[in-house]
Symmetry: C2
């Protein structure tokens, strides 16, 4: 477990949030290796001792942050696809939610991709847990005849790759900061034809 | 320019190759920030002075390596798609070549993705130059009626994303080290339906 103590008060939760926000900024701007606990503490505006109430070391903050970002993204996708009428609609909202999430967490790729050096298992688990969720939905949709018969694991990684690299292009490279609808429309033309059956444009 | 001097002899070329191979191993195992010129020199089995014949500093080796890997991959794709009979066939061979390339350069994602910290422009240019090549081919195939009308830039990043994440999954996560044909077949089912017209399986 990456947390030494769970915060028990509102103030504790706020402190943990300050640490997490400071770490997110620093790990994406300076990178994990160039960031010290002192930097995190200073940026968060807390006392050094307060840091150690919640974390044992820098690595624990990193693990906590990666898991937190992954959980927030999954929660956000779950929330936004709650009223989806079919798997296609879910896919559409999922991609849109992902683009918005990256727009709100500009350093996401820098943080997640450097996990390859900090903790390869953590990096792998980050994507494997997304894939697992995807695979369940794909198999269900394939059984219903909504989606094409393609190996669900490979298809899940195709979809993860599409979401990641179109977000990288439009947000990180082109600096797009809102209104991703046009990007989503074009991406969905490809996904609709590629993975869905009997779904007219 | 990242090279101080171009090697003029066979021996010079061999030395440069030794430096490049040592840097590739170290940047992917230990990472850019934890690797020193001394490590590179030791691993390459050359004298410190020899290093400075070709490079000014560590960053130059990194830039040289990223550009070298990008060029090798492009050359390899160009070579393997020379006899392709149509765009679909090119795409098939392109994905297959990419998987083989990643299999031969296990640390590729670690090296390329940490470029986000070392030199963001270099990182961006690495993918943008791939996209540009892709876009040319896509527009040609769309004009001929071979490919579906999807924004070619977005489509190029969809295809780059698919290649990267299916390679990440099958090679880095699952440890597959040869015979990527099954992966390519499944990926191409998706791409064929998603981006190609009148192309039967």
């Amino acid at each position: 477990m990456e947390l030494v103590n769970e915060p028990k008060t509102k103030r504790g939760l706020e402190t943990l949030d300050k640490i997490s926000k400071a770490a997110e900024e620093l790990f994406s701007e300076k990178g994990y290796y160039d960031t010290g606990i002192t930097d995190i503490v200073m940026k968060a505006g807390i006392a050094q001792g307060t840091f150690y109430i919640y974390f044992n070391d820098k690595k624990s903050v990193f693990v906590y942050l990666i898991n937190k970002l992954g959980k927030e993204l999954k929660d956000s996708i779950r929330f936004n696809t709650k009223v989806s009428k079919d798997r296609y609609d879910e896919e559409y909202m999922g991609i849109k939610t992902f683009l918005n999430f990256v727009g709100e967490h500009i350093g996401l790729f820098k943080i997640v991709w450097q996990a390859q050096f900090v903790d390869m298992e953590l990096f792998k688990e980050y994507y494997e847990s997304f894939s697992k969720g995807y695979v369940k939905g794909i198999i269900k949709a394939q059984t219903k005849g909504e989606m094409t018969d393609i190996d669900p694991v490979i298809l899940s990684y195709c979809l993860i790759g599409i979401a990641n690299f179109t977000a990288l292009k439009s947000i990180e490279f082109d600096g797009k900061s809102s209104n991703y609808d046009e990007v989503v429309e074009e991406v969905m033309k490809f996904i609709r034809n590629g993975a869905f059956k009997n779904k007219e444009s």
